[in-house]
Symmetry: C2
Subunit: 593 residues, 2 copies
């Protein structure tokens, strides 16, 4: 059973991602160490004791649809209410509407914990928080006054309605339409698919944010508007009014996250209300809907990366526990009586160490990204731009590397279990089933790579990424200068990886400058992984360099060395693929004909 | 829907694995090109038209257990009987018992086809053929006369009963016991788990091969005997007699291969018959059971590698079809109207080409291994030893590389489908669920790596593997000498990979010679992949070098070049991990404490 790694998370927040420095510098006002410890500790307790025990029943029962009503698994409504009552939904929300205005770093740390407990459960608040973000930044005061506080408290949940059958990644072609009414409201008509927690029984109302197109709007993404469309309309006194003209038509039968209902939502077909059309309220300006949605999407991407970390952590714990108890054969050098625990076999130890190293690396990346979000939020001028660019650069890496790690580690976890890993009751298989969606939604990892290469590398004319690499090199030098024998070849290995990263970066920037986009994109996914792997090495090293006085330093240094000497040299292969692979890729299209 | 790649399979058999040369040299008697084409073509038709259409219902319904009776999915009993009536079960079996005595290469080619149609279905005959193998080689004439012909015809199926809850990989500790009776029969008592198709309604009888221990037998693997234990006893006239004292206690709830019942079998608890104990007949000699089982296991390992290839092929076809039809966004350089098919996006093209290249590489490895089995069968003296060693060396690589490719490609296939990939009805997810068992059963891939490094590399004092590498180098030189521009850097890339393979091989042999087993085993899995990747490159090159006059050569050369310039350089990383990774792995055990 999952046990929240509270100490590891606190260590990573403070000593790797930089929260310790920020607290010391008073960046977050009177937020102090003790409060951070208390929040993460209590979130960990809730995830361990309350969320995780309901994950299996959620997977087995799933959420089910009957006559337009979605029933959540046994115990989940109570779980959700206990969770909301704990104030967990309001962590980062503005105080004006009842939030606690805490740093995004704490939100991401807590998100990891909920997702490790149950990814299907955590999706409900994840979507709500995204909707809160968009509404807070772009909604009118009137909309905020009705909806925001009740979404922040968790009384109502929120959703994101983007996808249509023919419009997934390419939102420019969506067809859901909106009609303006004289009273300033709109009527929405259309069908949306893949709407996470689009309908459920956890709360009395659900607030849908829906992308739609007004008649006569410009073609493509410049003609999309964002609307708030509640399941139940809200009376002036705040009580729930009439049912709005929308409903859940069907839910998907999915590989994983069974308890999270993935809904096809139908707006404006006349099932409810006197007049056809779901009542919607404009968020932001007409035709500027995509801008509003991007606010949600960036934070959601980081949160999805966190889901990958969460699954990886849970799967690693599960496999580690099994490998310590299960005995089979005799490992080389085994002196004990009878069979050895399988963890003694070098191949199993390697697998578990790989799981630990990439999980910890991916976690550090998500926290570093969250820190950049926080710093951008409180900084001004050049510093604000610097941190804004840092969070922009790290977001696709956090999303893609975190979610790839989630899948890879979950699959390794099954393998460690041997035959038991394939049996559903063991629990290892669910991690893979749940994890598999994360590299897909919120923009596939291929799309993250396009974003990273074509939009993030060029920030400040390449100045930002170059500056970042220089910062990373300083860590590698620090390892060399530390004279800590436990690091082994880490310093040199990191320098090699950073040289690969630098060469690949310059090659890509040069291709972009020449307008050779196809060549640059041919290596985009390899570049994304190269960046993630290098950051894994550097962040593990930063952890090893930090002397937290907690007795864990030797193990951290040893894990860092393992990563440096066993995993990181993949960067050479990736760099080679980036700078030498495009021509043969183009030539090989004949083999796909 | 899956369409059997008959031409690709025939090309690989003849021009890559060497069947063409063998036919020309009359190695397999009067077997000729036309007959090979007819067999593979007809197997392909059956897999495409009969097996594949029942795969989904098999997955959805699964096999179900009620009161000890297992019900197979709708239509599966008829499917099985049509398949057996087609003579497919008897392909390689001896003619004396009604078999066709065809080469193992054709068996493996056909196995790929059945498994691509439905892996859950193909498991039933796969186990039967393993039992036929063991019985043919080790069974008494009396046993053969009663059971063999009816297993070869497919009238009865066979099973392998090895695993017990505490004895998976380590068979030495199994507890199922056998008692000798005065009439020469035995009585079997115990519980076996993970018995594939251990109980079902496809046939009227099921022939279990069961490992058990006689009282007073030596400890460990030297005290294990093999018994044939039929579900129904057989009367002297060949009719079915009394129900034997065994039953299926439960079936597992698994991640995939739902239609294949994975049974817990209970022997000798007195449910059936007058006297407690399941009647068993000794196969081979007492306490030599493991030798008999190894006959089955080696062929089964190759067949499991083939399952990985099969899933990879089916998943690749599925993804390719989707990527050609689904439009989204505009790929760089796209000149068409509206959105481009996603196959035009470089990242999707790279993914599909990777899927194709590793699938084809893994297929060639399984066929090359099957050819070695065939040649060993017909050769004598040094040649027999050479081919025996070749099949021994290739078996763990075929098993592990094939099954890893199956999982990787199935996962990539989901990714290509985007959100649709996560929806079960799409069909892409099933491939991953089914594929995930293959790296685990018949010896985990970690165990294959131990076998490869500690038992296969030392064959002929390392002479066999060194000779094999020399043969592979000749292919790389041939590429260089061919002056075919389409190969690009293939020749040099293959030489680099082969140098990595050679260095890693010598390093491992040196560690073994020094008794440093733990160091060697630390890199065993990396070595196994290094070997598989290098073989992929070489076999793709061999395919490109062959001029089959079928118009496919340019595409084969282009795919080979893609693999050489994009995938194969991973060998450098793997070699580094093997020769430099063991020390940090050992040091990092502190991080697992």
């Amino acid at each position: 059973m999952y046990k929240a790694p509270v100490d590891e998370i606190l260590f990573t927040l403070k000593h790797v991602a930089g929260l310790g420095e920020d607290l010391a510098n008073g960046i977050f006002g009177d937020l102090d160490d003790d409060l951070v410890d208390a929040i993460v500790g209590e979130a960990g307790r809730f995830a361990t004791d309350e969320v995780a025990p309901l994950a299996d029943i959620g997977d087995r029962q799933g959420s089910t649809l009957t006559d337009g009503t979605v029933r959540s698994p046994d115990g989940w409504r109570d779980l959700y209410h206990a969770w909301a009552a704990g104030g967990w939904n309001s962590l980062t929300a503005p105080e004006e509407f009842g939030g606690q205005a805490l740093p995004h770093m704490l939100h991401i740390a807590a998100m990891e914990l909920w997702n490790a407990g149950s990814m299907a459960f955590a999706l409900a608040p994840m979507l709500t928080m995204g909707a809160v973000d968009a509404l807070e930044k772009h909604g009118s005061d009137a909309l905020k006054s009705v909806f925001l506080a009740r979404m922040i408290s968790g009384e109502w949940t929120g959703t994101m309605n983007l996808t249509e059958p023919h419009a997934g990644s390419d939102l420019g072609v969506l067809k859901t339409r909106a009609e303006r009414r004289d009273d300033g409201t709109y009527r929405i008509f259309g069908q949306k698919i893949f709407i996470t927690w689009g309908e459920h029984d956890l709360t009395d109302n659900i607030v849908h944010l829906v992308l739609a197109r007004l008649a006569g709007a410009p073609e493509g993404t410049r003609g999309i508007s964002l609307f708030l469309v509640p399941k139940f309309l809200v009376n002036d006194d705040g009580s729930l009014g009439a049912r709005n003209d929308l409903f859940c038509h069907s839910i998907e039968h999915k590989l994983g996250i069974h308890a999270s209902p993935t809904c096809t939502m139908v707006y404006g077909d006349g099932r409810f209300g006197d007049e056809k059309g779901a009542v919607g309220y404009l968020v932001g300006e007409e035709n500027k809907g995509l801008n509003c949605m991007f606010t949600m999407m960036n934070n959601a991407r980081l949160a999805v990366g966190t889901q990958g970390v969460a699954i990886a952590e849970a799967a690693t714990q599960h496999a580690l526990n099994y490998a310590r108890e299960r005995t089979q054969g005799k490992a080389p050098g085994w002196k004990g009586a009878g069979m050895s625990p399988i963890i003694e076999h070098p191949d199993i130890a390697r697998t578990l160490l790989t799981m630990k190293a990439v999980t910890q690396g991916a976690r550090a990346i998500t926290f570093a990204c969250a820190r950049a979000v926080d710093r951008a939020h409180v900084a001004e001028g050049d510093a604000a731009r610097y941190w804004q660019e840092r969070s922009s650069l790290l977001t696709p890496i956090a999303k893609s590397f975190g979610t790839d790690v989630g899948v890879d580690v979950a699959s390794m976890g099954i393998q460690v279990h041997g035959g038991m890993g394939f049996i559903e009751e063991t629990g290892a298989a669910r991690y893979l089933r749940d994890a598999r969606i994360a590299p897909i939604y919120e923009g596939t990892n291929g799309i993250q790579a396009i974003d990273l290469v074509t939009r993030k590398l060029p920030l400040s004319d390449g100045g930002h990424v170059r500056g970042f690499i220089a910062e990373l090199k300083a860590v590698a030098e620090e390892v060399g200068a530390s004279n800590l024998a436990g690091f082994g070849e880490t310093g040199r290995r990191l320098e090699d990886a950073l040289a690969d990263l630098e060469e690949a970066t310059e090659w890509l920037l040069a291709r972009l400058a020449e307008g050779k986009t196809a060549e640059a994109l041919a290596g985009a996914t390899a570049y994304q992984r190269l960046f993630g792997l290098t950051l894994t090495g550097v962040y593990l090293a930063r952890g090893g360099l930090a002397d937290a006085g907690d007795g864990g330093r030797d193990a951290r240094i040893a894990l860092c060395r393992f990563a440096a000497e066993n995993l990181i040299s993949e960067t050479a292969t990736l760099k080679d693929r980036i700078v030498n692979g495009a021509a043969s890729l183009a030539a090989a299209r004949i083999a796909l004909a």
